[in-house]
Symmetry: C2
Subunit: 106 residues, 2 copies
Amino acid sequence: MKLDDAAARLEALGNPTRLKIYRTLVRAGAEGLPVGRLQSKLDAAASTLSHHLKALVVVGLVTQTREGTTLVCHANYDIMRELLGYMVEECCAEGSCAPVVLPKVA
Amino acid sequence: MKLDDAAARLEALGNPTRLKIYRTLVRAGAEGLPVGRLQSKLDAAASTLSHHLKALVVVGLVTQTREGTTLVCHANYDIMRELLGYMVEECCAEGSCAPVVLPKVA
DNA sequence: ACTGTATTTCTAGAAAAATAGAAATATGGA
DNA sequence: TCCATATTTCTATTTTTCTAGAAATACAGT
């Protein structure tokens, strides 16, 4: 992952509303959640939510699949994995190491 | 870690200049780097660099220790660890799981 | 106290982001 | 085709961020 891509993804996550959206989708797992469901859960104006969702989709952290009249949103786990990898990459390459021990997660 | 703290930290990293600063510090390891060294490495105006560093310090991702006339900056690995943990926490709690496999790092 | 180096704070202008109402578009069904 | 529901795009306003020059502060040495 390039630095600018990583920065763009981190920026996308670096807003409370968007982080809440993303986490809600992570919790939802593979089946995802419709936009409308997100809207009621997060209690945001539809246009605002759409705006934030777009920001997450543009950087690849969220994907959307249409099911009839509703749009279902999914967290993209691959991109998240890459982003996490980027964040700890090359740790201490030029100095003594204070190792970044990654947390254990399902 | 609270959502707002996580968002603030991600936002701090979500700027190419600040991400470069942070990664440079991660590479530098435990001994850190003086502000001036960062400035020459990244070729930024001193005031701009100071501004960005402050943003990283405020959210706890970077710490500074004075050594005489120079300020040495260090990546805070503990905070990074917590942030990474937060990002994958509660994966799929409400749905079938597309597991987030964490990357292996030193 | 005076000088030099290191770094921050002040300031201000330009650019970008956040919010949300209103209008527009897309889909499926009657 | 017409309607209802779902979602986005348009538009505008307010707020925040970015950038960097100039001035100020901090420290160590003489």
